[in-house]
Symmetry: C2
Amino acid sequence: MTIVTRVPRGEARARLLAAARSLVRHKGFAATSVDDLCAAAGVTKGAFFHHFPSKEALGVALVQDWTTTTGAMFAAHPYNSLPDPLDRVFAYIDLRRQLLDQPIPEFSCVAGTTVQEAYESSPPIRQAAAESIGSGAEHVRPHLVAALAAHPVPGVTAESLAQLFQVAVQGGVVVAKALDTPTPAREAFDHLERYLRLLFDRPPT
Amino acid sequence: MTIVTRVPRGEARARLLAAARSLVRHKGFAATSVDDLCAAAGVTKGAFFHHFPSKEALGVALVQDWTTTTGAMFAAHPYNSLPDPLDRVFAYIDLRRQLLDQPIPEFSCVAGTTVQEAYESSPPIRQAAAESIGSGAEHVRPHLVAALAAHPVPGVTAESLAQLFQVAVQGGVVVAKALDTPTPAREAFDHLERYLRLLFDRPPT
DNA sequence: AAGACAATACCAACCAGTTGGTATGTATTC
DNA sequence: GAATACATACCAACTGGTTGGTATTGTCTT
């Protein structure tokens, strides 16, 4: 008598999204088949297409889910409550560096990985990735706005700096994957911090 | 009587690599099928598997071909012959910005795009991408070495700066694809130039 | 409180088309 | 004439997606 432990009713969608997050980070979106996803989630194809009308729809949901969960994670982090805005920026960089203390697939960005494949082949997924990257920039932009208000730097906007953070994050993932080491990503954040300290005339304490 | 213009004998391999470069930049590696490649190259499957033992082998050859052609393009560029090393670095940044005056797929990096998908699924391709990224850093690293020799900056190495360039290039592509505009990539290079001018005490002329 | 009923959540089997790859044949070149 | 450079035809495995069904849940009525 074999006891088949089934996935509890109501969890299928969440498990599919979790499986997708992991598989996409490891193999990319196109290389992850619907069968892969169902097997990893412990669910059948019927369940998959009950919750998602297509594989593309799951891709959109995956990126949106990524946006909200990472958004919640950053929003809840104590760095947001430091009194000085520039300290908040530096604490954000620290947090970013801490995230690199994980295996590479674990710190790679779902939106960034997916958009490379979806840029032309799936406008909806690209759109979701755009919102994700934009929302990600919002984790530093307000602090940069406040810091620049207290200490203006000619020719430098909070928006372009916030996007520079995103470029560093995404580029860090790509280079880390290529060289198979998080070091270049970490050092990119070191340079970013040094750049900001020079811009804002705030030498390391 | 239909005249079928065939691909001249001996060109199949080169045409397959050219087709692969274009298709991979637009759709990614996994989403590009062998049939796609043959159709785009105007060649049959027999030709494909005559020149490449597998799709993976074409992926490796594609990345290697990318490394050599881009390497030759940068090596031949006049920025290398400027007298001052830091001027060479700034001219390299200018060149990088010029490359952004193209449609996004045209300036996206084949190695960077591919490695995201191949990181775990294909060690040989990942290895080729590692060599490509490493070789790419060599287009600035010597100039940074010379610039730092003339004007040392405590705590800053030419190697980590060269890798920062790679992070900016790769991150620029990802963010540009996500937001569907080259602006963040361009501004990342602006910030990079400003950072270097601060580090080397070389205000804009 | 119990029964009817419809929605929801899921499953197993199946489908047509596509995938990477092969076996075999033929025209060119050296 | 032997190697090289292809073309044609084909295949098993897998692809995203569909089908028809079942078990579970909530909801409304009596």
